[in-house]
């Protein structure tokens, strides 16, 4: 069934109003991979800075040339001033690239004695965990966000989220890592189950043997020993991981935060966007709007797609191709209309199920964006979109 009559056009997402609102301190861009999330985050941060905000953008994995254009040639986990920003309105822009391993190391160092920290940092299991665990990047992005927010150097933090299969990973992964590190299985492995844990241990003892023996068979004894040493060294930090993740999660729920969902007019990308919007709603997290990138715009020439194709066919078939140029232009025009109609349809489907989400459309640009001027151009399109 169709959802009734044609969905009304959604409200325009006014990005400028958002970044001009001084109460907004954190902007998070999220969306599935390949939709222009990083570029959108950088464009928003630059525009905010040039409209007078003292902004910092935290990027996770920027394209090389975009990173270079922002002076991010090194990954040193510290915000650096971006050169070439127009400071006439009193704003500024810093940028940084997340180094997840270093951020993780710092968390460990901050929460335990130097001796213990050294022990943990040298543990092979820790090294694997801090550089390749599927949720570490997300956890550390949140951790870094918390750190930046605690400083008073900026009045706006724009966070790009890690490239993930699903946009939801950004919200779920930190909790996953937190509960994993605080979890029962890992504590049992470390042999650190204490008060309260004893009865649990007894009850589960039989089951536990099955678990450890299966783990040993599958993973090998060596890895389990590393895990166990790691867990014991981490003892004082237990509870801390989940708590920290929860604190940042709470920060994301505050009205000073605005989520921007980024998508391209593709079914996959908009389905992810839908999931994400629903999730934000369920968790009462503040969604500002949807940025729809790479939209094909149609220009009204008063000629429909089918009409153009039919006319092109006529021109191509008669009198020795003397109107080849016009025929080619008509075919181009028809393609463009079709692409625009398809984008429109896909966008409408999203807005039909989420009429409350304001949308701004960014037209597909002919070239790639890899300098401040390109970012500025996109920023200007926020206004026009």
């Amino acid at each position: 069934m169709n959802p009734g009559p044609r969905a009304a056009k959604p409200a325009h997402f006014d990005v400028d109003r958002l970044i001009d609102d001084r109460r907004i301190r954190i902007v998070v861009t999220c969306g599935s991979g390949g939709v222009g999330k990083t570029t959108t985050a950088a464009a928003i941060a630059l525009r905010a800075a040039e409209r007078g905000r003292r902004a910092v953008v935290l990027t996770i994995d920027p394209a090389r040339r975009l990173a270079q254009s922002m002076g991010l040639s090194e990954l040193d986990n510290t915000p650096r001033a971006v050169k070439g920003v127009d400071a006439a309105a009193g704003g500024s822009l810093d940028a940084m690239m997340l180094d997840m391993k270093r951020t993780f190391d710092e968390v460990v160092e901050d929460h335990t004695t130097p001796d213990r920290a050294k022990q943990i940092l040298a543990n092979p299991f820790y090294q694997a965990l801090s550089s390749s665990f599927a949720g570490t990047q997300e956890y550390m992005a949140m951790e870094k966000l918390g750190q930046l927010r605690a400083r008073s150097d900026w009045d706006l933090i724009v966070v790009d989220t890690p490239p993930a299969r699903s946009a939801l990973d950004f919200l779920d992964a930190p909790e996953r890592l937190g509960s994993f590190l605080d979890g029962r299985l890992i504590r049992l492995l470390g042999g650190t189950a204490r008060a309260g844990g004893r009865t649990y241990l007894k009850v589960l003892h039989a089951g536990f043997n099955v678990v450890t023996s299966a783990l040993t068979k599958v993973l090998g004894g060596e890895l389990l020993r590393d895990v166990s040493t790691f867990v014991n060294a981490l003892d004082t930090m237990f509870g801390g991981f989940r708590e920290r993740a929860e604190q940042t999660y709470a920060l994301l729920k505050r009205p000073e935060t605005a989520f921007i969902v980024v998508a391209a007019p593709e079914h996959d990308a908009l389905r992810e966007a839908s999931y994400f919007v629903d999730r934000l709603g369920r968790d009462a997290m503040p969604l500002a709007g949807l940025v729809l990138n790479r939209v094909h715009a149609s220009s009204a020439a008063g000629i429909g797609a089918e009409q153009a194709v039919a006319a092109a066919e006529r021109l191509e078939s008669d009198e020795g191709g003397s109107h080849a140029l016009t025929a080619a232009l008509l075919r181009l025009h028809a393609d463009r209309l079709k692409l625009a109609a398809r984008d429109e349809r896909i966008g409408e489907r999203f807005s039909g199920s989420h009429p409350e989400v304001p949308v701004t459309r960014i037209p597909a640009l002919a070239g790639d964006v890899h300098d401040l001027d390109g970012l500025r151009q996109i920023g200007a399109l926020f206004d026009a979109g």
């Binding site: 599935s32 991979g33 390949g34 939709v35 394209a63 090389r64 040339r65 092979p124 299991f125 694997a128 965990l129 390749s132 665990f133 599927a134 490239p163 299969r165 994993f180 299985l185 089951g207 099955v210 678990v211 299966a214 040993t216 068979k217 599958v218 993973l219 090998g220 890895l223 895990v227 391209a264 593709e266 079914h267 996959d268 220009s299 009204a300 020439a301 000629i303 009409q307 153009a308 006319a311 006529r314 021109l315 109107h323 080849a324 140029l325 016009t326 025929a327 080619a328 232009l329 008509l330 075919r331 181009l332 025009h333 393609d335 692409l339 398809r342 002919a366 070239g367 790639d368 890899h370």
Partner: protein
Amino acid sequence: MGDWEGVRLHVVTGKGGTGKTTVAGALAMALAAGGRRVLIAEVEERQGLAQLFDVPPLAYQEQRVASASGGGEVYALAIDAREAMHEYLAMFYRLGRAGRALDKLGFVDFATTIAPGLRDVLLTGKAYEATRRRTGDHHAYDAIVLDAPPTGRIVRFLDVTTSVSSLARVGPINRQANSITDLIHSPRTAVHVVTLLEDMPVQETADAVAELQAAHIPVGAVVVNQARPPHLATRSLPAARRGRLDHDDVLSGLRAAGLPATDAVVDVLTREAADHAERTALEKTQRALVDDLGRPVYELPRIADGIDPTALYELAEALAEQGAV
């Protein structure tokens, strides 16, 4: 005889948003043409194949999703690490029901968390198993197409030897990882990279090709997806780009076609042509970079109406015409 005679495992990767699932689907259809049986598998729990073939969500069970031209069949499977682990525990450790019970304790999540490489071994292991499976004296499938993770993660995903170096040094997992490694580094495997003719996807394609080669994993073709149709003749492009097409020529063409022939219409068409010409020029630069990679290149047209099962036949056809099968 196509370019990939002897290849049993076709791995398809690409930057997010380049349409690697679509290309994997088209490749499966092309490989199946002429009465062959092909399995296409996804590993990212996205249900992208169900979408593509327009069927209900796939389970951990091979299911026929399309017939190819000439009586071929395409089967699809959504590989799930948890299910693969159960299969595995049941097969090698005879942990049938106990394996399921372990699930209540979060065993699989836990094991794949403390050893991320284990997950990849489980996922690639299932594809490996399908390449070897036999019915009677035939292979169960003539080819396997794996819709793999994106370029950024592809080498880590496929290079399971490195992933399992932290795992058990002996035992079935280790043996299996070694067999997978043998297959993946052999001429029976080809990793195809999907790209668009844009800066970032091409850059990532070049990076992925270099990384794969460094890891001694055979690189297959580069598939240029969503190529712009060359409506405008090459000789008209420079003028089009500068917005200096022959105004009167277009005007008279419109008149001949019985369309509204006004200056406004000509202006719109000229602007569109300028935009097209600019993109075409950019694409030409990117295409040169793709050609420099020294791999076979296939080009698939952009389907303006969006991808549906019919479009998939068209794309499969295009791959076949260019020698992919």
